[in-house]
């Protein structure tokens, strides 16, 4: 390793930490709505404001995907895939996080109420 390598490492670390810092500051929003997509189509919208643990089942490419929600949190509880990456990911609670189950073609996005409209005028 030479000194250029160290410069490279420092630059990467700096940029990443800066980015993480910014997203941390912007990311503290309550997750209020979850959108579940299968094969790029919205299949379920879940209200995350309810203060109880609930389970939902959606269709995945390899079989049923079990989704569990708590207040302002959502996770994939069970799914069939080689590595089970998305059930290992655990609960997400920020609108900046997304759960992706590649083998099952399931994507879960969440939104805070800040993104919702308060009223519509026509």
């Amino acid at each position: 390793m030479n000194r250029y390598d160290f410069i490279l490492i420092s630059v990467i670390l700096f940029v990443c930490l800066l980015f993480l810092g910014i997203t941390y500051i912007n990311g503290e929003k309550d997750a209020n709505v979850a959108y579940v997509y299968y094969d790029n189509k919205l299949v379920k919208t879940i209200d995350l404001r309810i203060d109880e643990t609930k389970e939902y089942i959606v269709k995945g490419y390899n079989g049923d995907v079990v989704i569990e929600t708590k207040k302002n949190q959502i996770r994939v509880k069970e799914e069939k895939s080689p590595l089970n990456l998305c059930s290992k990911q655990g609960f997400i609670s920020s609108s900046l996080e997304t759960i992706v189950c590649l083998p099952n073609k399931v994507v879960i996005k969440i939104e805070s109420s800040n993104d919702e409209l308060d009223a519509v005028v026509r």
């Binding site: 390793m1 390598d5 990443c16 930490l17 590595l83 990456l85």
Partner: protein, 167 residues
Amino acid sequence: MELRKLTHLSMLLATSVVLNIIESVIPVLGNIIPGAKLGLANIVILFIIYIYGFKDAIFVSIMRVLLVGILRTGLFNITFFFSLGGAIFSVIIMAITHRFTKLSVVGVSIIGAISHSIGQIIVAISFLNAPNLIYYLPYLLILSIPTGIITGMISNKVIEYYKKISN
């Protein structure tokens, strides 16, 4: 293509496929951040860039993705394009870095790991229509540093050794 080189590249291709499979059976890093990998196959690709050059490296890289697809994950599904995007992008960037910068093998390896993550994220965002995935990039990139160093050091040893024995 000269027979010796063809044989050699075939063996390297086989090695990269095996490394890829070994790695996917023991997903140590995947438990920390979904999708993260050590990138052992990158050792082979780096070696080819340094010994044979860019064209052979990208050829082996694409063949590797195809073979792993056939053997394990399936062809032309999302996972396949995921890997393909990461593989092609990282080979191009590594070759450019090797040619035009003063970075050592370890530096080029880190660049390779980073561009692999970026390539995958780009494919994932466009395929899954999930721009939020960009927020995983910093974690993947930070993780690229240790994995890049490890694979880079191994590559370095292999390249040095190869140069010694082939002289």
